[in-house]
């Protein structure tokens, strides 16, 4: 479904991503792992069109989306819950969700997706009329994921959903990610520093370090590979 080939991204003279390739199959959860500064977020932002690629190609389905404007990429079906959640603090929870469905006009279906979001994250329904800025970190993450889902995307990208969230909520959120994948057949690209958690729910995993792919394989196999975990995923 998503095919990234030899992607290169530079910030001025610094190469942040040095030719990584990855493929995500429809209906699966793929995870992109690596330590801080490995280039995970940069990769995601480039797929979304927030940063320009310096080289390589990105295909979504059979379309070349490399360096297309961000709003066009969303229109083609790639939504993202970005790093740091980026909730619109000045908008209510409901307005945030409504913005997620900005490009859609099918009112009845939007309402259905809204109901689905409220069914998996009932807390959001309770806080529907509150400004997004008043939510806790965990609730904001739920909102960020739901907001991305409101676009009814073909590919959902989640950037570090466990970051800065109470441990008890992290478990809930990861359960919900699995639920979204199963219930909706949603294809998901999950970026995580918390490799242990991500490998539990993902089907396939990629590990990158300093902008380069070091290993890829089935999540279950990578999880078993102690050398990889020690070397690249910061586990001891």
């Amino acid at each position: 479904m998503l095919r990234v080939q030899n992607l290169q991204v530079r910030y001025g003279a610094i190469a942040a991503v040095k030719g990584i390739s990855l493929t995500i199959e429809r209906g699966t959860i793929a995870t992109l792992l690596g330590t801080n500064g490995a280039g995970k977020t940069t990769t995601l932002r480039t797929i979304s069109g927030l940063i320009k690629a310096a080289g390589g190609t990105i295909h979504f389905g059979d379309r070349d989306i490399t360096n297309k404007p961000c709003h066009e990429i969303v229109a083609m079906g790639i939504a993202q819950a970005p790093e740091g959640r980026m909730i619109f603090s000045n908008l209510t929870v409901k307005e945030n969700l409504r913005m997620g469905a900005y490009l859609r006009k099918d009112r009845a279906e939007i309402q259905r997706d809204l109901d689905f979001a409220f069914s998996i994250f009932p807390r959001l329904k309770e806080r529907m009329k509150q400004p997004g800025g008043t939510l806790s970190g965990g609730e904001q993450q739920m909102l960020a994921i739901s907001r991305a889902l409101m676009a009814r995307p073909g590919l959902l990208m989640l950037d570090e959903p466990s970051l800065g969230i109470a441990p008890i909520l992290v478990k809930t959120i990861f359960d919900k990610i699995v639920e979204i994948n199963r219930e909706l057949g949603m294809t998901i690209l999950l970026v995580e520093q918390n490799a242990h958690l991500a490998l539990q729910i993902a089907h396939y995993a990629y590990v990158i370090e300093t902008g380069q792919m070091v290993i890829e394989g089935k999540a279950s196999e990578i999880a078993k590979n102690e050398d990889v975990r020690k070397a690249y995923l910061g586990e001891t």
Binding site: C70, H71, V74, M86, F88, L91, E95
Partner: protein, 301 residues
């Protein structure tokens, strides 16, 4: 007592015009984080569209007062919307990722271009603004004289501001505007085309300024190509006073500045009329730079 009432009516009339212009400053600041110093001149162009259009519109509608006023108003709003969007596309958009100072200086350049282009095109001498709505006296008691003019000015301003508030708070585009003003990248990730939202902001801001120009001409029936300078600055001060980026704040700031000016002119001396507005600006910048309704916002790094 009656003189006070008279001053209050004058103050609200002037203040509602400042409010209309100030909203444009504050909205553009909200999405682009810069002060569009050409905004006061868009207000002036609004006045001139009214000046040139009214004599043609009047016979078309058979001299009907009810129709002529709104048609001239809508025409001025449309012309200025196009002008505002054009200025943004030609002058500001190419500089969007340059330092803010560049775009600020460009805005001043556009302002001068409109002012002196206006002198060239319309002639530098003041022109008397056509009477769109004949002034009839509503109340004529001992000292208080209330004519239809301030009632229409204030009423039109209120209608437009309420309409704007509805657009910003309740429509999809308005919500997108607020989203963009909070975080452009996150807004892009929703599929929002930032350029469309920016154009929309200029349409709203410029059309309110145009309406301000028509109302100003109705209230003080003499217009000239430099008439936008002072009302523009006063409206800018109003926007800062209310909290830049905050729409209700801009409306409130406009009313306060309009009232203060009227009272200073009436009870103190017309000499201090302009000084007081700038005095308020200095005080606000010294003691509460976020303005009355604005919130403190840390500079993003």
């Amino acid at each position: 007592m009656s003189e006070l009432l008279q001053q209050i009516i004058n103050g609200i009339s002037l203040g509602s015009i400042y409010a209309l212009i100030a909203i444009g400053y504050t909205m553009v600041y909200g999405v682009l984080r810069f002060i569009n110093f050409a905004h006061g001149d868009v207000f002036m162009i609004g006045g001139f569209v009214g000046y040139y259009a009214a004599p043609h519109i009047m016979p078309l509608v058979g001299g009907s007062v009810i129709l002529a006023g709104p048609i001239v108003l809508l025409l001025a709003m449309t012309v200025c919307s196009i002008l505002g969007v054009t200025i943004e596309k030609l002058a500001y958009k190419p500089l969007r990722f340059r330092p803010k100072l560049t775009i600020l200086i460009t805005a001043i350049g556009i302002s001068l271009f409109l002012e002196f282009g206006g002198q060239l095109l319309f002639g530098p001498d003041p022109k008397s603004f056509p009477t769109l709505i004949p002034s009839t006296t509503l109340i004529d008691s001992q000292n208080l004289i209330l004519t239809t003019t301030p009632v229409i000015v204030i009423g039109t301003a209120i209608i437009l501001i309420v309409l704007l508030r509805f657009i910003v708070q309740n429509t999809k585009m308005g919500t997108a505007m607020r989203a963009v003003s909070f975080n452009q990248q996150a807004a892009s990730l929703m599929g929002i085309n930032i350029n469309t939202v920016i154009s929309f902001t200029f349409v709203l801001g410029s059309s309110l300024a145009a309406a301000g120009g028509i109302l100003y001409g109705t209230l003080y029936p003499s217009i000239n190509p430099l008439m936008g300078i002072f009302p523009g600055l006063k409206a800018f001060i109003s926007a800062v006073l209310g909290g830049i980026g905050n729409i209700p704040g801009a409306a409130l700031g406009g009313l306060i500045i309009g009232m203060t000016e009227t009272f200073v002119t009436g009870y103190l001396s017309p000499t201090y009329r302009d000084a007081i507005a700038f005095g308020i600006l200095i005080l606000i910048l010294l003691f509460k730079p976020s303005g009355i309704l604005g919130r403190y916002e840390a500079e993003k790094v």
